[in-house]
């Protein structure tokens, strides 16, 4: 079947509305016509539209993403495959990626979030890795918005049900509430897997005449146009797009995982690719394109769940839990036996060819015959116009509230600083019995099974900083992620990202994107923290109002020996707290500013990457040589919030007596200056630590002494931990219960 002897039965002309509905611009359509020398069939139009959608083609972002640093001695696989791969030594490697499922989660939070988690895990096990840790980065609208509670509840249970059923621990994440996400929530899911570095599977279908095999679930009419939907701006009519929601089946995915890993242990797979966005179309195009071959599919062979599915529907279906593989010839029976054992569909649906064409046959007709070069590499690339944002002028001083401790108490009971326990307790974070740092700390850590090496994972971005200044904000996101990994004692290795932005056709949005990429690039270079995989989600806006630029960063680090891991919980009375790094008292765009003035304005804190590196390397050294008994980086809410989190985690109070110099107390305790860590050290070690810091040219200041059951500071009445804990722990459960009692 390698020759397409039949002709395509193309229509004379396609209606303009149909072309527009497929999200193709008149120019893009003209390109297709020219490429084909004729009008495309409906199936061809569908195929081109999904391949050229923003989601699959990265047409607005590609030229910028290319500027990111992606190399390093630790990098085994950079961007371009289903996930990135970094070296963990001893032949072990970590595979990871983050992906967005924003639009589907807004429309149907449970299924949208669940299928997002399913999709990212497939990306990871497609590479031959067993997923060992999931993370999730969530941005919801304001708690007061009428939809927020429903969205939180659905998204969290969707993520939980899928990951829990798969038996992959969800070891952390982040959660923000901000009115700027009211109409466009963000659900970014990350997965980390482990494999042996000489057993990495890729997607290229190298070789002609090879069987193309479909495995997993059957194809239904799920999510047709999902990929184009993910690239379309919302409007009030988007409720109409509802039936495109996909339903996840984590049980089938668990079987698919086990079946794929079992087959991967044999030497029969040439290329493998999961069917994600744009399902069969994008998986087969990518495999053929990367392998430099043509591909021909016989859709009569595709396992279908519904009757009378057309070629168009099969090619665009986004049914979940499916994979495409190219096998060594003759290996089909061996592979089929494994998939049958796991009660999954298995079908040879096509063959690789030497024609360089993408040929789709169905019921005796040729439904599509397209040059592969036009679909993948030939997809449009735009250098969209962009304008830089006006620099923010610092508004007047942020006013001070009464006392730091009473401010702290109030702050710890706000939606953004409160405990996220209500969320992470719905996620099985211990399954696989290798979770050595559970959610609630700076980074989650899982052991490499059977060793004492640990893989640390953290997800970070501070959208309010990015809204103030996308360049500094993106730098900060990378730096905070690096810092969180450092705080547990890990060597940060590399990142994945999820670039969530508004409509790139608006120059100011494109300007934010460009600034964020530049900021990320600068930070990644300075911290030797390259980008190995990622995802872009654009058009996150409703009725012309965009989300704040949200470049979510997911980082992975290595702890050579988990016995030398650090944690934020204060561990011994009498230890002394020391802040490493300079405290300048930057309050613009801070949680304190938001709380005291109801506004977020001004420039975000700037990020001095040299200082970050110096402070981080220093603190990591303290952890490795066992000098410190607890470590926490300083981020949202500033120093006092960091100290409070350490106190609550260890259930030990602190008597604070820092010499704050000339800084007003509220700036000292709540400023969000970067490149800082709070460490706890036995009192006998304080002097040496301060001296070592001076040696390393790092500011270090003692803050107080661990002990008791409250936080005390100056003349203010001490704040009992029990009071603080209930404020901190109760906000989210009370909020979520509010729906019942209103």
């Amino acid at each position: 079947m390698s020759e397409a002897t039949q002709k395509v039965d193309a229509p004379d002309e396609l209606p303009e509305e149909l072309i527009a509905e497929h999200g193709l611009s008149p120019d893009e359509y003209a390109r297709i016509r020219k490429e084909l020398g004729r009008t495309p069939t409906l199936t061809e139009l569908g195929i081109v539209s999904v391949m050229w959608s923003e989601h699959c083609s990265y047409k607005s972002s590609r030229i910028w993403l290319k500027t990111l640093p992606t190399d390093g001695p630790q990098v085994i696989q950079g961007p371009g495959e289903n996930a990135g791969v970094v070296d963990l030594g001893d032949g072990d490697a970590a595979v990871f990626k983050m992906e967005s499922h924003n639009h589907p989660s807004y429309i149907e939070p449970y299924q949208g979030a669940a299928t997002g988690v399913g999709g990212i895990m497939r990306d990871v096990f497609t590479m031959g890795a067993r997923p060992v840790a999931n993370m999730n980065a969530l941005r919801f609208g304001s708690p007061e918005h009428s939809k927020t509670r429903h969205l939180v509840s659905g998204v969290v249970s969707g993520i939980g049900d899928y990951g829990n059923c798969m038996g992959v621990p969800t070891i952390g994440g982040e959660t923000n509430f901000d009115a700027r996400y009211d109409g466009n929530i963000l659900v970014n899911a990350m997965c980390v897997g482990l494999l042996k570095s000489d057993r990495i599977f890729k997607s290229a279908a190298r070789g002609v005449g090879l069987p193309v095999v479909y495995v997993g679930s059957k194809t239904g009419r799920d999510g047709i146009h999902g990929a184009t939907m993910a690239s379309a701006e919302f409007d009030d009519a988007s409720a109409e797009k509802r039936p495109t929601v996909q339903v996840g089946d984590p049980f089938t995915e668990k079987l698919l995982l086990e079946a794929c890993l079992e087959l991967m242990a044999e030497d029969v797979i040439i290329g493998i690719q999961d069917m994600g966005a744009a399902g069969l179309t994008s998986s087969s195009v990518e495999m053929a394109d990367k392998g430099g071959v043509g591909i021909e599919l016989d859709l009569d062979k595709v396992p279908c769940r519904e009757e009378a599915m057309t070629a168009y529907e099969m090619m665009l279906s986004e049914s979940q839990e499916r994979m495409l593989m190219v096998l060594k010839p003759g290996a089909e029976p061996q592979a089929e036996a494994i998939f049958k054992k796991w009660e999954l569909d298995f079908a040879v649906i096509g063959i690789t060819t030497d024609t360089g064409r993408f040929v789709i046959k169905h019921q005796g007709a040729v439904e599509a015959d397209l040059p592969l070069s036009a679909l993948a590499d030939g997809a449009p690339v735009y250098e969209r116009p962009w304008v830089p944002k006006e620099p923010q002028v610092a508004p007047k001083e942020v006013p001070a509230a009464d006392g730091p401790l009473s401010s702290l108490e109030a702050l710890m009971g706000t939606s953004n600083l409160c405990s996220k326990r209500w969320i992470y307790e719905q996620y099985d974070h211990m399954v696989m019995a290798d979770t050595v740092a559970r959610p609630g700390g700076d980074a989650g850590v899982v052991r490499v099974h059977g060793t004492n090496k640990g893989v640390a994972v953290s997800c970070d971005v501070t959208p309010r900083y990015c809204a103030g200044d996308a360049f500094e904000g993106a730098k900060q996101a990378v730096a905070e992620c690096w810092r969180n990994l450092t705080s547990v004692g890990a060597d940060p290795l590399a990142i994945t990202d999820c670039m969530n932005f508004g409509n790139p056709e608006r120059p100011e949005i494109m300007g934010e994107f460009v600034a964020a990429v530049k900021g990320m690039g600068e930070a990644c270079t300075a911290l030797s923290f390259p980008v190995v995989s990622g995802n872009v989600s654009l058009y996150n806006e409703t009725n012309g109002v965009a989300i704040p630029p949200t470049p979510a960063i997911g980082g992975v680090g290595l702890i050579p020996d988990v016995a030398k891991m650090a944690h934020l919980a204060l561990a011994h009375d009498g230890d002394v707290l020391v802040v490493v790094g300079k405290t300048k008292g930057h309050l613009h765009q801070s949680r304190y500013q938001e709380w005291i003035s109801g506004k977020l304005e001004g420039p975000p804190p700037s990020v001095d990457l040299d200082a970050e590196r110096k402070a981080g390397d220093f603190v990591r050294g303290l952890i490795r040589d066992g000098t410190v008994t607890a470590v926490h980086d300083v981020s949202d809410g500033g120093l006092l919030v960091a100290i409070a989190e350490m106190a609550l985690a260890g259930d030990r109070g602190v008597a604070l007596d820092a010499d704050i110099g000339d800084l007003p107390a509220h700036r000292f305790w709540f400023g969000e200056d970067q490149a800082r860590y709070v460490v706890a050290v036995p009192s006998t070690g304080v002097e040496a630590l301060i001296a070592a810091a001076a040696e390393a040219d790092l500011p270090a200041l003692t803050l107080g002494t661990v002990g008791g059951d409250s936080l005390s500071l100056g003349a203010e009445p001490p704040l009992p931990l029990a009071t603080l804990r209930s404020t901190y722990e109760q906000w989210l459960p009370d909020y979520m219960d509010g729906g019942r009692e209103q």
Partner: protein, 81 residues
Amino acid sequence: MKARITITLKPGVLDPQGKAIEGALHALGFGGVDDVRQGKYIEVEIGESDPDRAKAEVERMCEELLANTVIENYSYELEAA
């Protein structure tokens, strides 16, 4: 009045539960079984005796809470207490 509400997945929507039950029934020897679909059944006592108002109330409940109308349909019967 008592409302008996049945909530089913819209045609074409994947039903993992139904699929798994079908597999289990086959394994138990019910070979001829096909097209298994699982839904929900909910009984509600409503403090409304006027049939028209009861109807309106049950529909509002289904739309607002009981059914996920993105992927589910619902039907119901009313029965006087």
